[in-house]
Amino acid sequence: MESLPARIVSLVLGKSDEDFETLIRDLFAYQYAHNAPYRRLCDYAGMTPETVENWTEVPAVPAQAFRRFDLSCIPIASTAAVFFSSGTTADRSSKHWFSDESLELYEISLRTNYYSRFSRRDRLFAVMPNPLDAPHSSLSHMLGALDAEEFAGNDLTDFRIRLMAATEDSRPITLFGTAFGLMEMLSLGSVQLPLGSRVIETGGFKGRYRELPRDEFYHLLRDGLSVADSHCFSEYGMCELTSQFYSQGEAGSFSGPRWIRTRCIDPITGRDAKSGSYGLLRHYDLTNLNSVGVLQTQDRAVIDDDGNFSLRGRAADAELRGCSLTAEELWSRS
């Protein structure tokens, strides 16, 4: 029998029709055996590979666990790469450790997912740092793996000039960037992309810029880059997750590849949120090979019957509280 990574690669490449449930349960058994912090969580929940009867019962780790623990199935010293949620530092950031096998799976899966949606013929421009300059940014790594032609780095003015020069060629361009980066670039002036070009935004504003409502932001993209709404996309991804979701147009919902499943959980009951009600996204990602396959986020969303979801903000606990100290405040005074 093939190894687990090989079986997942086969599924990703469409070379096998092994069912998702078997694979996620086998992945759970592997991670339960080799990932000590995750095993402790499973034992606390009373869920082990022997007791889990259904894929939905596989315990989820909170995304925050990637900040607190080294979630790796192999010794950290043997890992091949690590990505940080901030892209620059491990301090208080999520750390996602990859083995050689899981890094290879990451690259295969991101390419398969991307090229199942977007043309290989388009020139790809990335509004983000070059992976050589940001080796711990999973986003930069992804665009590197997609052979992006140009990266913005820290000089958006120069990048915009290079982008404008590229528009002289009629070949469509896909402009992939963080919402913050795209907005910064467009603040320098609009760019008329060739017919058939696309823009993919990701990552939100991360508190670095005034937040724009989605409709205003999409309006800015359409007007500033001369692309139709149907050619504007959003990517939903995170450092803690190996797979990506994409949505098309301002009103589009996010859909993922066949090797990831998503549920919307009502945290009060622990069960799926009622149809039409929002819950918190829980992802079951077969490509999270070396860490943990099931991730509980604080992202609020509504999900449809096909598993596509629309985001509704985050489940931030009430900002206003009593006069009690928080752990962050305690640390900040230490």
């Binding site: 000590a36 912090p37 995750y38 402790r40 969580l41 606390y44 929940a45 989820a60 780790v61 909170p62 925050q64 666990a65 607190r68 623990f69 009502d266 945290p267 009060i268 622990g270 819950g279 918190l280 509980q296 604080q298 609020r300 489940a315 931030a316 606990d317 009430a318 206003l320 509280r321 009593g322 006069c323 009690s324 100290l325 928080t326 752990a327 405040e329 305690l330 900040s332 005074r333």
Partner: protein, 400 residues
């Protein structure tokens, strides 16, 4: 016009409040000595009336139910006698000594009695008060207090204005700083830093703190565990007097026994349970999962999100990550005292669960020596009286 009703906004931010003029007018009519006496009499009468009527805010509009608030409110009101108030004034040498003309109170907190006690302190030094509540803050209890003051003495009540606006409203924040001579701010580090950088007048900061409890090596009665449970769950563990860490004198075996008894007491605690919201459950679920992954933690939890007891290997002051999480750690008496001493600037109070009077006396004395100003028996932590020296400082003198 008596400007004491909780108002949603300041009508005209281009003109400073006329509080200073109003106070000057009162001082022309009364001498300062008489004004201070009148303030003491008015507060005492209003407190008496409050105890008699047990008037409460509307539970539907407040973050905490009245049955919970009254546990804190009653001991406070009972300590607002003329004798107690003069005793407080004299203990700080503030008889016949005036505070600043107008004091701004910035309340970035959901706990309902912070504003009430802050206003009382200002009245005791004859200062006018302009109170800024948060945009969605607890105005109901303050409104009840102000109504009682109006009914008792309109002149004293006219020394108070209360407004509510979000902290991001820079225009109204500036109006406040331009209308006062001193700012008292209750809030987190961010709020205090923001106020300190913007205010042109002196700032008296009351930063966020937490409280702790100690179970000394002595016999502990069931009612003392019940008291500890109250100290943990009052105000959904959101007050500076809420217990986050319980220090148990003894070894790991004893700490596990004590944690079990504490869990039992938390289960039977009669305080009303907070509503299970998605945000609350998500926050508690996440915290429990992270603790479950931590090899130093051993968790016991209720079915919902109300409480979580964590036996933790590290003997340190640990801050709860979210609602109702309490850490139980162990050590020798000397070790516990050392930890408390090291963290004393972050600890508001310590409650003691112990049956033996002598042991309690010894612990109180040792804890006071670490710099903790408020030490009490289990169950009394959230019920301080007016003599409580918040942050261990002179509360009235700081208003001069």
């Amino acid at each position: 016009m008596v400007k004491v009703i909780v108002k949603p906004v300041v009508a005209d931010t281009s003109v400073p409040s006329d509080m200073r003029l109003r106070r000057a007018e009162l001082l022309r009519r009364y001498s300062f000595i008489k004004l201070q006496k009148l303030a003491v009499e008015t507060i005492a009468s209003a407190a008496e009336a409050w105890l008699a009527t047990r008037a409460s805010a509307n539970d539907d509009l407040e973050p905490f139910p009245s049955s919970m608030v009254w546990i804190s409110l009653e001991p406070l009101l009972r300590s607002l006698t003329e004798r107690d108030l003069w005793s407080l004034i004299d203990s700080e040498g503030m008889r016949d000594i005036s505070g600043r003309d107008v004091i701004g109170h910035i309340i970035a907190s959901t706990t309902p009695l912070v504003a009430v006690t802050s206003i009382i302190r200002a009245l005791l030094v004859g200062s006018g008060s302009i109170v800024k509540l948060p945009g969605a803050g607890p105005g109901g209890w303050l409104q009840v207090f102000l109504n009682l003051l109006i009914a008792t003495n309109e002149d004293i009540a006219s020394l108070i204005e209360v407004y509510a606006w979000p902290r991001t409203d820079e225009q109204r924040n500036r109006w406040l700083y331009n209308s006062v001579d001193l700012v008292v701010v209750y809030g987190d580090n961010h709020t205090i830093a923001s106020v300190t950088s913007q205010s042109r007048v002196p700032v008296v900061p009351y930063g966020h703190r937490i409280s702790a409890a100690v179970i000394p090596f002595c016999s502990v009665q069931p009612e003392q565990y019940d008291g500890l449970a109250m100290d943990i769950l009052m105000y959904d563990q959101g007050g500076c007097l809420s217990v986050h860490t319980v220090f148990v004198e003894g070894d790991l075996e004893r700490v596990q026994q004590q944690a079990q008894k504490l869990s039992d007491a938390l289960s039977r605690c009669p305080l009303p349970s907070p509503a299970e919201t998605m945000e609350r459950s998500a926050s508690v679920n996440e915290a429990r999962s992270l603790l479950a992954m931590d090899p130093a933690a051993d968790i016991a939890a209720t079915e919902g999100s109300r409480w979580t007891v964590v036996v933790y290997e590290e003997s340190d002051l640990i801050v709860s990550a979210t609602h109702g999480i309490v850490y139980v750690v162990h050590g020798s008496k000397a070790g516990i005292i050392e930890v408390v001493k090291k963290s004393s600037s972050r600890i508001q109070g310590v409650s003691l669960a112990c049956g033996g009077d002598l042991a309690v006396e010894n612990w109180i004395s040792d804890l006071h020596e670490t710099g903790i100003s408020y030490v009490c028996r289990a169950g009394e932590l959230e019920s301080p009286n007016i003599h409580w020296r918040e942050d261990g400082r002179d509360l009235l003198r700081s208003l001069v």
